[in-house]
């Protein structure tokens, strides 16, 4: 498989890195020679210096043999032209990042079709949607929807009061009728795929696969208390914030937006009828106190500056905000921000990279970025060596777990030793990227 990525921004680079694990040929086009050099030093991919809208650069990147083109620069026009050129060269799938709001509306569909866009991604919108899901997730810090609608993965931290604390996983599963499965445990900033004898300790961050209907019971067992969001404070007034505020307001939630730039704040205030828009600096603690940040049920920091976001969330947490969410742009920071009182953090790059990966793998990918651990969904092929085996009989690679099996009829069950796998089933896998790539050959096609 040959994939061309246009733009060596954070989305592009992250995507390229992930695709390497998949054994995919990646060619990258980047206009800025310095950035291009950096990428080619770091990754084993072809890097072409040039514009994504240039047929010459595309040809150099091997457009005629490409299967997928992912145009993920921050420039909508370049992305659309690249998509157009890709279709002229019979590229099967184009993934195009578009940020302009009006291009996501219905009446732009013809234009996008004319430009040959197969999949449209919008990092800001995806980030906003992810945050919205989190707010509605009853106190979970992460929330992933699996392709089978009843299956979800919740990320949460085990508290001191958790009934499950100090218990081994096998005994937990036994007492809960295998209603859920702990996919990963993060302890001391290290994430592992747990074995059955692992004990849950207070302070562990776990990601648990469960049925949607068990969500509240599970969170109770982990000692997570939920509070319904009535007041939300959004720090920073960018595109993510605007979308969030609009949705939250229409859900009847009281929203305060703080934006530094006076003109931008004015524009927001005009567009957001019900939200309260305040002009000010989010790192100004005096201002945050004045707006009684502690009384907000949720604080979401969405500015472009990671440090400010973390700082503001940390301050809000000490003031008593129940749940804080920070948008973090630098992926390497995601792991450490929890230390500063940030309950949940997510990256716009991660969201859009996942969207591309989902397409390339034709499966559901929810990568967890703080380490190389990921959640995947695979369909078992008819020639798979796993076909018609129960899990107890299969030897899986190290650091890998099969979490749930969904049959072709759409019946999902959380996996245990007796669960049987058949061709056509969809399995949910927790594992390190390396382990997953080792599993892939066994899945058949």
């Amino acid at each position: 498989m040959h994939v061309i990525i246009i733009g060596a921004g954070e989305v592009g680079v992250y995507l390229a890195k992930r695709l390497q694990y998949e054994g995919v040929d990646v060619a990258m086009i980047e206009l800025d020679p310095i950035k291009a050099a950096k990428v080619s030093n770091k990754l084993d991919i072809q890097v072409v210096v040039g514009s994504g809208s240039s047929p010459v650069a595309l040809k150099e990147a091997g457009i005629e043999k490409a299967d997928i083109l992912a145009a993920v620069t921050q420039n909508d026009e370049v992305n659309l032209v690249a998509s157009l050129l890709a279709k002229e060269n019979n590229v099967a799938t184009t993934v195009v990042r578009v940020e302009a709001d009006e291009l996501h509306k219905k009446d732009a569909a013809n234009l996008l079709q004319a430009a040959g866009v197969d999949i449209l991604i919008d990092p800001d919108a995806e980030t906003a949607d992810e945050i919205l899901t989190l707010i509605g997730a009853n106190g979970a810090k992460e929330f992933y929807q699996m392709s089978a609608s009843q299956l979800i993965v919740l990320g949460a931290t085990v508290t001191e009061e958790a009934p499950l604390a100090q218990q081994a996983l096998t005994s937990i599963y036994a007492s809960a009728d295998n209603a859920f499965l702990v996919g990963t445990i993060t302890r001391d900033e290290k994430t592992i795929i747990p074995r059955g004898d692992e004990k849950l300790l207070p302070g562990d961050h776990v990601r648990v696969l469960c049925q949607r209907s068990d969500q509240i019971r599970l969170l109770q067992l982990l000692g997570v208390t939920a509070k319904k969001a009535r007041r939300v404070m959004i720090l920073g007034g960018g595109a993510v914030a605007e979308r969030l505020a609009g949705r939250l307001c229409s859900a009847g939630i009281e929203v305060t937006v703080i934006e530094k730039d006076s003109d931008r704040a004015d524009a927001l205030a005009r567009r957001l009828e019900k939200a309260m828009v305040i002009c000010g600096d989010i790192t100004d603690t005096e201002l945050l106190l004045q707006e009684s940040v502690g009384e907000a049920d949720v604080v979401i920091a969405t500015t472009g500056e990671d440090a400010s976001n973390v700082l503001a969330c940390g301050f809000a947490a000490t003031e008593g905000t129940h749940f804080t969410v920070a948008v973090i742009h630098r992926l390497d920071l995601l792991a450490m921000v929890k230390r500063f009182g940030v309950d949940a953090s997510l990256s716009p790059r991660k969201a859009s990279a996942n969207a591309v990966l989902r397409q390339i793998r034709k499966g559901n990918v929810h990568s967890i970025l703080e380490s190389d651990v990921e959640i995947d969904e695979f369909i078992i092929g008819p020639d798979s060596e796993l076909d018609r085996h129960s899990l107890a009989d299969i030897s899986l690679p190290k650091n890998l777990l099969i979490g749930a099996v969904t049959t072709r009829n759409g019946i999902s069950s959380i996996a245990n030793d007796q669960t049987e796998i058949n061709a056509g089933d969809t399995v949910i896998v927790f594992g390190t990227s390396k382990a997953v790539s080792r599993l892939r050959p066994k899945l058949g096609s």
């Binding site: 703080i258 927001l268 205030a269 005009r270 309260m276 828009v277 002009c279 004045q290």
Partner: protein, 514 residues
């Protein structure tokens, strides 16, 4: 060789002058209305009043015709000229309007004639006309004069200048400025890209609405003359009647309901109504101002009905409540019931608070208009919230629509000026020796172009109850109210020391270059 006529002389010396041009056209239109009154008096009337009407009408038309022939409108005009044109036209119009009353000896005193003229043109409808001593149900004036009285309200309702903009050929950019200076309401909402077409549509609607209401009156039992005069003063929300007992004279529930509906409609935005008629009801129904307008009427009707007194809680009482409320809110000022003497003080106070309110922007009603009240309300809310959140950004809104800050501050200024003039006037009138409520209601009813007031100037009385000082103030207030304060104040601020340029434009010549 060209024939030397007055017209060619006028043409040959054509000079650019917006003020005189607009004034000329105004005179032609007023003259036309006077000639029509003369014609009616000549055919159906029984006095010799048609002679002065004809004389004034003809003079006005001819002078106006030559004025506008001698001038043209250049592309280059100062803003002050627009305000001056509107103000001067209205003042001259008021003066000419008073002449028929004087020359037919309807009034012997000039101030009374001028009061009646201004009250008419400004669509206020307060009168100083006395009942006929032989037949106290009608006023002491001829049919021609009474028609002129109604016509003056009709002309003033939509505005002469709006009509001028409508009929003049392509006019450059100043048309909207003129339109905003005279058309009632703070928004110069365009129905079409061209101002002229917008103005034309407004007048066509106005004309059609007048005809429709007149026919409804006719069908409900009025005679032709009654239907026409009342149609003219209903649609313009003027409120002059040819009978001393106003609409109460007819003693007909049907006529009153027609009047109620017509007054209610006349208090709504004409451009939104225009869209409604042409199949687009959305803008009107979605308009927050319209919803508030309906709400105000319904609440006021319920309140007055419930508090007017036990003997009024009948079907007739409900109709009277509807009538009085729509009459005051739309600033028409017709009466059926003498609320000052018949209603309790509570019910009266409801009406009193409606006096300065007015209907919707873009209607013929007077007052501050609901859109301004909503704007000021949103402003006040912002200021309250600002106390808690100093960095708050909150645009002023009417419903979902954001009001520009410049517009909002204009509205606030208007509000402050209105309050100052209202308060100052009330003080002046009470200092001149009138009772407090009389003074306050006289000030409010004049500035709001409503008509009747309270206490001594209730529906059954007239403005002769007020001393000359009060009447003088009322005249000024009526004009201020009709032109929505700014044009007159702006023109006045330049009056003591008119700029040389302006003065030259009004008086001296600048002969066309080509």
């Amino acid at each position: 060789m060209r024939k030397l006529t007055l017209r060619t002389i006028a043409k040959s010396k054509q000079r650019p002058n917006l003020i005189l041009h607009v004034l000329g056209l105004t005179l032609v239109l007023v003259g036309g209305a006077l000639l029509l009154s003369a014609l009616v008096e000549l055919t159906v009337g029984d006095t010799q009043d048609w002679v002065p009407l004809l004389a004034i009408g003809a003079t006005s038309t001819i002078v106006g015709y030559f004025l506008q022939e001698a001038t043209y409108i250049s592309e280059r005009i100062a803003r002050i000229e627009v305000f001056a044109a509107v103000t001067i036209s209205w003042v001259v119009m008021s003066l000419i309007g008073s002449l028929p009353y004087l020359l037919t000896k309807t009034f012997t005193r000039f101030d009374n004639a001028l009061f009646e003229s201004i009250s008419g043109l400004s669509t206020t409808g307060a009168t100083v006309l006395q009942a006929n001593p032989d037949n106290p149900i009608i006023f002491d004036a001829s049919k021609g004069i009474l028609l002129w009285r109604s016509l003056s309200q009709w002309i003033g309702g939509m505005g002469v200048i709006v009509l001028i903009v409508a009929i003049l050929p392509a006019l450059g950019n100043w048309g909207m400025g003129l339109l905003q200076a005279e058309a009632p309401g703070p928004t110069g909402e365009r129905l079409t890209p061209r101002v002229r077409h917008t103005a034309r549509k407004l007048w066509v609607f106005y004309l059609g609405f007048t005809v429709a209401v007149s026919f409804a009156y006719l069908a409900a039992g009025m005679d032709f003359y009654e239907a026409a005069t009342h149609g003219l003063t209903t649609v313009s929300t003027g409120g002059f009647s040819i009978y001393t007992k106003s609409m109460g004279h007819f003693d007909s529930a049907l006529i009153e309901w027609i009047a109620i509906s017509a007054m209610f409609i006349a208090g709504a935005s004409f451009s939104l109504l225009y869209k409604l008629i042409f199949g687009k009801p959305g803008p009107l129904l979605r308009s927050i101002e319209f919803r508030v307008y309906c709400l105000v009427v319904l609440v006021a009707v319920s309140l007055t009905f419930l508090t007017a007194g036990a003997q009024h809680q009948t079907a007739d009482g409900l109709r009277n409540a509807f009538f009085s409320v729509t009459s005051i809110v739309s600033t028409t000022g017709y009466g059926t019931v003498d609320f000052v003497n018949d209603w309790t003080f509570q019910a009266q106070s409801v009406l009193f608070f409606l006096l300065p309110l007015g209907g919707m922007a873009g209607s013929t009603s007077g007052g501050v208009k609901l859109v301004r009240v909503l704007t000021v309300g949103s402003f006040a809310r912002r200021e309250i919230m600002n106390q808690l959140h100093p960095g708050l950004k909150r645009p002023i809104r009417i419903g979902k629509i954001v009001v520009d800050n410049s517009v909002a501050s204009q509205v606030l200024g208007f509000f402050i000026l209105t309050l100052a003039i209202f308060g100052g006037g009330a003080l002046l009138i009470s200092l001149s020796g009138e009772p407090l409520l009389t003074a306050f209601s006289a000030s409010a009813t004049s500035l709001g172009n409503v008509g009747p007031g309270f206490e001594e100037i209730g529906p059954s009385n007239d403005f002769t109850q007020i001393n000359p000082i009060g009447r003088a103030f009322s005249m000024v207030a009526m004009l201020l109210g009709r032109l929505e304060i700014y044009p007159i104040i702006v023109a006045l601020t330049r009056l003591p020391r008119p700029s040389r340029r302006l003065w030259r434009r009004i008086t001296t010549s600048r002969i066309q270059a080509s």
